[in-house]
Symmetry: C2
Subunit: 220 residues, 2 copies
């Protein structure tokens, strides 16, 4: 039982510095990302969702974030009977920080994926935040994304775009391929022909893609 309560601080009376005192340490914002995108998680869900983190670090970070009022830990009711971690209201407010960080970082996604890990729910950031349905009055569309084993569905809702895990019921388009070809296509960085040359396959009409364009504040 060693609990060294972290205290390293920038010691600057500045809002940015004080924010970084709390969430600036390695892995902290990515833990928040996972909880934001996936909702309440068990310890092992987080471990899987954060490839590369050491298990002791995750435990430490969760304690620190809990103490900072960002993460709440609670025992799940009998059916599950496990410890669950979720964001507090204060933690949810970090969403705006992550949005801006993701927007700024989207440009970096053009770099080849190399050996980077990929989880399809991470796509929710670029998709939900930067895409808009250009013709919201027409019937909604659904696009099914099949990336390395798992399937994600992208649906238009109220002029925006929503993502969820799993297959679509009656998709207008099915895209199968690697993460960067699909992301390149969705962000408009690649056209259909180029994306196909890079490993994308499709089934259905790609014209629905024209309805989804980067909105007023495009990333990069």
């Amino acid at each position: 039982m060693s609990y060294g309560l972290r205290v390293r601080s920038y010691a600057q009376y500045c809002a940015v510095a004080r924010a970084l005192d709390v969430i600036g340490d390695r892995w902290n914002l990515l833990i928040v990302r996972e909880l934001l995108l996936r909702g309440a998680c068990r310890y092992t869900d987080l471990l899987n969702g954060l490839p590369g983190i050491a298990t002791n670090l995750l435990a430490d970070r969760l304690r620190e974030l809990e103490q900072a009022g960002i993460v709440a830990r609670y025992e799940a009711p009998p059916p599950i009977a496990a410890a669950l971690f979720s964001l507090t209201a204060r933690g949810e407010q970090l969403k705006d920080v992550l949005i801006e960080l993701g927007r700024w970082g989207t440009e970096l996604m053009a770099e080849p994926i190399g050996d980077d890990a990929f989880h399809s729910h991470w796509l929710a950031f670029p998709a939900e935040l930067y895409l808009e349905d250009q013709t919201p009055d027409r019937p909604p569309i659904a696009i099914e994304l099949r990336i390395g084993g798992d399937t994600t569905t992208l649906e238009t809702v109220d002029g925006g775009v929503h993502t969820r895990a799993g297959a679509a019921e009656d998709p207008d388009l099915i895209l199968t391929g690697n993460p960067q070809a699909i992301l390149g296509l969705l962000t408009g960085r690649l056209d259909v022909a180029t994306a196909q040359a890079r490993g994308l396959e499709h089934q259905g009409s790609t014209t629905v893609l024209r309805r989804l364009q980067p909105g007023k504040r495009p990333p990069g």
Copy 2:
């Protein structure tokens, strides 16, 4: 000459993770803060503006940020004859990240200042970003802030608030005091009486303060 080009990466194909690969290391965002608030800086300006940073770390970080295309280094023309650092366009885009981070962190400014360092230009963040002039049609106002030796001026412009170093010509109000009393007053967390009890002194009419209120997206 030891140059170990940092490569530690989260190795995750996610926009947030890739952004943090570049600007997530300790001190990086604070260096950007300084360059954003003060414009082009010399090495020693940055060293002074970042109390607590080790000089070798600053040198390392500037190299990394330069290589990442965030900071530009150039030799100033003859009159100055020194190396200057400034943000590139890509670096300026981090402003939105810092704004959200600062907004989130403002709540933490309620904690006592303790031994934290303070530079008055750091006030520009809360003041410019969160305050609005409620009656922009009336003649502009100027408030002079005197905090621990140096003086900052706060002026209303187009319904917003602008800050600059130095004294005001004909201030409507002069506030003298410690950082947290002044910040508490400006953010509306403290009223005039309470702020006075905590060390604030004023000269002029405090009613102008009512014109400056937190805008539609208040911090915290």
